[in-house]
């Protein structure tokens, strides 16, 4: 679609059922990613996509535990005119990320495991945004869409 001019017009996205998973202890990570996998399948994600979503949720949840001690994951079903998808919002009131750009830098070519798992999670999802304020907290919003259905 390179020859279209993109603008910040909000697409008509309908939000469906939501599930909230508090992240406070390690076993919550497993709950969150299981829910993520469940909802992924519900919205029609197929192939390896449910695993990718669950893995991204796992990374983000672990970050919450490690850096903020507590937070939440909210998983919502999405519906656009011709496709459905999954929305995952991860929130915490932790210390925040001082340099988001740095945190999002790709270190994967070195083969080492990623510090914050953020660039990795971004690669696993279709859409990924992160808002963070030092001293206030962090919100990560990610989406994955099922293939276009005519």
């Amino acid at each position: 679609m390179g020859w279209f001019n993109l603008l910040n017009v909000q697409p008509r996205i309908i939000m469906g059922e939501s599930v909230r998973v508090p992240i406070e202890i390690e076993s919550d990570i497993v709950v969150a990613r299981r829910k993520g996998r469940e909802v992924s399948v519900q919205v029609g994600l197929s192939g390896s996509d449910p695993t990718l979503v669950a893995t991204a949720i796992s990374e983000i949840s672990r970050n919450i535990l490690v850096y903020a001690q507590r937070g939440e994951i909210v998983i919502t079903q999405l519906r656009e005119w011709n496709r459905s998808g999954i929305l995952v919002v991860a929130r915490d009131s932790g210390p925040g990320i001082r340099n988001v750009d740095l945190a999002m830098q790709d270190g994967y070519s070195t083969g080492k495991s990623l510090g914050l798992g953020l660039p990795g999670a971004k690669r696993l999802m279709d859409e990924f945004t992160i808002e963070s304020t030092v001293g206030t907290g962090t919100t990560i919003t990610m989406k994955k869409w099922a293939r276009v259905v005519w």
Binding site: S27, S48, L52, S58, E59, S113, G120, L124
Partner: protein, 121 residues
């Protein structure tokens, strides 16, 4: 949780569910102890029951296999299924330095071959 089975000089570690920090320490200690006690020549870590391998799990696997190798046991990680392999690679978790095989059967065969080569080499 984890089940550790002894098959001659080989230890088979079946990881049945996601491991947390505590489980990990326990596993490492337990495995280290057994490899030493039984003088195991090989270890196969079967993670086919894991539906997700994230960066924590990958680091765990690497740590464990390094530890067992240091204690003299050839170590293979097996049971990574296509979806998990795909996700791992997207995250940059390539398990460099860790030997891998398709599944338990394949891992045992490779161990035997490797052991034979070592004996002849």
């Amino acid at each position: 949780m984890v089940a550790i089975l002894k098959q001659g000089a080989v230890l088979v570690v079946c990881v049945q569910s996601a491991l947390n920090d505590r489980d990990l320490i326990e596993l490492k200690d337990d495995l280290s102890d057994r490899v030493g006690r039984f003088r195991s020549r090989g270890v196969v870590i079967d993670i086919s029951a894991l539906d997700i391998v994230d960066s924590f799990a990958a680091r765990t696997l690497r740590d464990i296999s390094h530890m067992t190798r240091l204690r003299g046991a050839i170590t293979f990680v097996v049971g990574i299924v296509p979806d998990v392999a795909f996700a791992m690679v997207e995250l940059g978790l390539t398990l460099d330095g860790v030997d891998t095989a398709l599944d338990l059967e394949d891992g045992l065969v490779q161990l035997a071959e490797r052991a034979a080569t070592n004996n002849n080499g």
